[in-house]
Symmetry: C2
Subunit: 111 residues, 2 copies
């Protein structure tokens, strides 16, 4: 059996950027937010999340700083950079284009 992903592959970075575009957040909070907003359909595993955040940092799309949470724990807060906002725009429009294209293929009419 082919493995069933918890995500639609290729969309994780976009989802993280979008989440951070609302407000800076730490990793655990990002995962909770995506899970909650998707009504438990999308689950971001830790082994996917933290490597993704490292990628985004390396690209300069987010920056990070250690802070205390409201519940009094050390956590690394990520903030979208200007480049990150731009990247989010790019990824959103590419995603929409892809979905539109897939939808055309899935339609029942011939081209």
């Amino acid at each position: 059996m082919p493995r069933k992903s918890d995500l639609l592959p290729g969309t994780l970075d976009m989802l993280i950027l979008k989440t951070l575009n609302r407000a800076p957040l730490h990793g655990y909070g990002i995962a909770l937010s995506i899970r909650r907003m998707s009504d438990d359909v999308l689950t971001v595993e830790e082994g996917s999340l933290y490597p993704a955040l490292q990628r985004l940092l390396a690209q300069g799309w987010v920056k990070a700083e250690w802070k205390m949470t409201e519940t009094n724990r050390r956590a690394r807060y990520y903030t979208l950079t200007a480049a990150g906002r731009k990247q989010l725009g790019i990824e959103l429009s590419q995603f929409e284009e892809m979905i539109a294209a897939i939808t055309r293929v899935l339609r029942d009419q011939e081209a």
Copy 2:
């Protein structure tokens, strides 16, 4: 730079099954059909297509037979099986659920 896929990963099998649900077709024709129906947005590379067809065969979702094309060439025609039709239904509904979930995350309102 992250590599840009010609496809949204995880959607290829569904696209192939859907294409074959319209009519039996050979590999090359499947690739052309997907390209054409997507208005050149989705390009299925041969190195993705033929392994995918092998996967679908191995799962019993398609069957294959060698025939001659209208242009008088040997080609392997793939046909959806009953199990393949069922699988297409599963993949379509999972895809729609995923897209709906992603759309909720991408919305600007808080949950």
